[in-house]
């Protein structure tokens, strides 16, 4: 099965734009140049349109935070029966027919990651999915264990000071995390033991097989988790990183990744008081160019992901990094950059085609293509807004 996208403005993100064609065979990109001729291919005329790699959402709760339903009954984001729940897996809470999948298609999001919520200091394991509605759920999985979700700051304190009475302050959150990892080390050192799946997961983090993705908004929370990370030596990505612009120079020296957003929420919580639309631009100026943007869908709608990139440009971010922050950078962050995140020969045929430039928020996504299959066609299905 071959798909030939013809005569568009192709922006591969990791190489310069050109007018031309993209050829996909068996789900992989095999041609990327002008005037490709392939008689047996299905042809998609993209004249006057703009072609990009599929958008990637690094941090969402699609399907696990059920939509269009009563608030509690389909919300499986936070297992707050205990503060440390590494054994919980987002996979078990995802409703595969949830409306969020459809909204993501209309937004040109071809791959998204789903994490458990931020109520627990150690919340559980995330999963990365391809957004092809025709695939069986198991076949949508790109990365079964995409990281261990952890959380600092207001949320664990607020939830567990009342629900389990195990955490009353930020000091408590930090010690719950330290104790959990120390328990894992003690478990490893024990000669005779029964297998403990919770400890095994924490050991994977300590061994660098699983990255810790840590919800942290305020600079003090960011500094605390960096302190803990350096004590135990695990790989880490900061999620939200709302005050990262206040300590950008410090963060630039650290071996950590950043996932910034959602940028469009009201400043209800104290920990987002310093949220700024300039954060991406300030990070870029400090030399941090591998951050990605996130919507935390449904906190803000997933179709706001490219609009976050647009607003960041309006506030000083380069257009190049803006596009990277929603394509190749989230792919790097998830360790999937050999497969997705840019248009390159050999990579997955995940493509979004827009009538205007992707960074122009008045664009319409005309086609979303996953693994070389057209999974959304605006003319046929209408806008899903």
């Amino acid at each position: 099965m071959k798909l030939l996208i013809k005569n568009g403005t192709v922006n591969p993100v990791t190489s310069p734009s050109f007018m031309g064609d993209v050829l996909i065979e068996d789900g992989k990109i095999i041609g990327l140049e002008q005037n490709i001729i392939c008689e047996e291919a299905q042809v998609l005329d993209a004249a006057g349109m703009n072609i990009y790699p599929g958008i990637i959402e690094e941090h969402s709760h699609i399907g696990i935070h059920g939509e269009k339903t009563n608030q509690e009954s389909d919300n499986d984001v936070n297992e707050w029966s205990a503060p440390v729940t590494p054994e919980c897996h987002a996979l078990e809470g995802i409703k595969p027919f949830d409306h969020g999948f459809l909204q993501a298609l209309n937004a040109g999001v071809t791959t998204f990651n789903v994490y458990p919520g931020s109520a627990n200091p150690i919340g559980g394991i995330g999963i990365t999915l391809k957004n092809d509605p025709t695939l069986h759920f198991e076949d949508k999985i790109v990365l079964r264990n995409s990281g261990l979700k952890m959380a600092m700051g207001e949320n664990p304190k607020k939830v567990h000071s009342s629900a389990t009475k195990t955490i009353m302050t930020r000091m408590g959150t930090a010690q719950v995390i330290r104790k959990a990892f120390q328990d894992a080390i003690n478990y490893r050192n024990k000669k005779e033991k029964e297998k403990d799946s919770r400890m095994e997961i924490l050991l994977k983090v300590l061994d660098g097989e699983l990255t810790a993705h840590v919800h942290a908004h305020k600079a003090d929370d960011i500094l605390t988790i960096i302190r803990i990370k350096e004590e135990f030596g695990f790989k880490m990505c900061l999620e939200h990183a709302t005050e990262s612009h206040l300590i950008a120079d410090f963060l630039a020296k650290k071996d950590i990744k950043l996932a910034v957003g959602p940028m469009f929420t009201a400043r209800y919580k104290i920990e987002v008081n310093n949220r700024s639309l300039c954060t991406p631009a300030i990070l870029e100026k400090a030399g941090i160019t591998d951050f990605c943007l996130i919507t935390d869908h449904p906190v803000i709608p997933i179709n706001n992901l490219p609009i976050e990139a647009s607003i960041a440009v309006n506030n000083g971010l380069s257009e190049d990094l803006a596009l990277r922050s929603i394509t190749i950078n989230p792919a790097i962050n998830l360790g999937l950059d050999d497969r997705i995140g840019s248009l390159e020969i050999g990579k997955d045929g995940d493509v979004v085609i827009c009538d205007r430039e992707l960074l122009d928020p008045t664009h319409r996504v005309m086609y979303t293509i996953v693994n070389g299959k057209i999974v959304y066609d605006m003319e046929k299905e209408g806008l899903i807004l």
Binding site: I270, P298, I384, L385
Partner: protein
């Protein structure tokens, strides 16, 4: 007197090269070319774009303050009773709320501030300009009082979880009927003690007030129509999330409709029908639509995202801008004072570096009553 020259000015539903004069806080003249005189200070706009100050007909800015945590600045819902018609939003508005600053910096010059939707009868709303330190001086007087009501899930959820009435939609309309009947009895009494609640409800019955009704689902809209007809009150449908599912019925109601906030994910059952399509469908059905942010639900500095997303339907852009300017001004009964650039109206406008539909544009200056009050730079 100030002459603003060489701008592209949005007036008469068009963007045209034009000059305009502002005096004593009002637009006094807009013409293609006005020759400068010694009487006028001249400001050269250098081809910048000028739009009328935007109007948000449904917000909670000032009473649901940002940057104060969830509770300290939150005075939206007086949930000591499901019926609080005497409450006044003005009594809780903090002019220093950063949400109000966001509003003016982003080109929103007038907002209506309403109590929330937890109570069936929430209280009295107020219209303010988005600049000032004394709320009383920010008020834009309206001919009619504004009384906030709410139907559906919010009152049922708020009171139901406390095991108090209303537990169901049945009790929401029953409570409203009972209160309006009490007001009718109150009005009929010759000798009476002044009652704040009854006075505000009476003003609805006397058509000296407009009910602003929070509603999402179609069955609730139908109930509102029934109750409003029984008591002959004027009303506006706020949110009206499911109204587009029956456009013929929507048209037959012949009441103002304020849609939004639209740029939110459909998190709850109440927002089951939430879609930007509602704007297009109801506009094409012939309704004059306004769009709200419900700020801080969508902060006003991000309201333009709704404008861009509506533009994806490729409707006439003049019609889209009307939804954020003259249409909401009309809903508030203030179309003679605000909502467009025209001689005699308040000089509320913003100067943008480019077209408002272009994401690269910045609001460089916002003017209220002819005075520069902010901007994004």
């Amino acid at each position: 007197m100030k002459l603003f020259k060489n701008g592209y000015v949005w007036y008469n539903s068009n963007l045209k090269k034009a000059d305009f004069i502002v005096e004593d806080g009002k637009f006094v003249k807009i013409e293609e070319e006005i020759v400068p005189s010694d009487l006028c200070e001249t400001v050269d706009l250098n081809g910048k774009y000028v739009y009328p100050g935007m109007v948000d007909p449904h917000t909670h800015v000032g009473i649901f303050e940002e940057c104060t945590g969830w509770t300290a600045g939150n005075d939206v819902n007086e949930t000591s009773s499901p019926s609080t018609p005497g409450m006044r939003a003005i009594d809780a508005i903090n002019p220093m709320d950063p949400g109000i600053e966001s509003a003016r910096n982003s080109g929103f010059t007038t907002v209506c501030v309403l109590p929330g939707s937890a109570n069936v009868i929430g209280g009295e709303g107020v219209v303010i300009k988005t600049y000032g330190t004394v709320v009383d001086e920010m008020v834009v007087p309206t001919n009619k009082k504004i009384i906030k009501l709410a139907f559906g899930w919010n009152p049922v959820w708020t009171w139901g979880k406390q095991e108090k009435a209303p537990q169901t939609r049945l009790a929401v309309s029953a409570l409203l009927r009972e209160k309006l009947t009490s007001a009718r009895n109150y009005m009929a009494k010759e000798e009476k003690e002044y009652d704040y609640d009854m006075e505000n409800l009476s003003s609805l019955l006397k058509k000296e007030a407009v009910a602003r009704i929070h509603v999402a689902n179609l069955e609730d809209i139908e109930t509102i129509e029934r109750v409003a007809n029984e008591f002959n009150i004027d009303y506006v449908l706020d949110h009206a999330t499911a109204l587009h599912t029956n456009p013929d019925y929507a048209k037959s109601l012949n009441v103002p409709v304020i849609l939004g906030p639209l740029n939110v994910a459909g998190k709850s059952f109440q927002t089951y029908d939430l879609t930007f399509d509602s704007v297009k469908i109801l506009h094409e059905a012939g309704l004059k639509i306004s769009v709200m942010t419900d700020a801080p639900v969508i902060p006003l500095n991000l309201a333009k995202i709704q404008i861009w997303l509506i533009d994806r339907f490729r409707m006439n852009r003049a019609d889209v801008l009307d939804m954020f300017t003259i249409n909401p001004a009309t809903v508030l009964g203030l179309e003679d004072r605000i909502g467009s650039i025209a001689a005699g109206k308040d000089a509320d406008f913003f100067v943008s570096s480019g077209d408002i539909f272009d994401y690269r544009s910045k609001v460089e200056h916002t003017f209220i009553n002819g005075i520069r009050v902010g901007g994004e730079l």
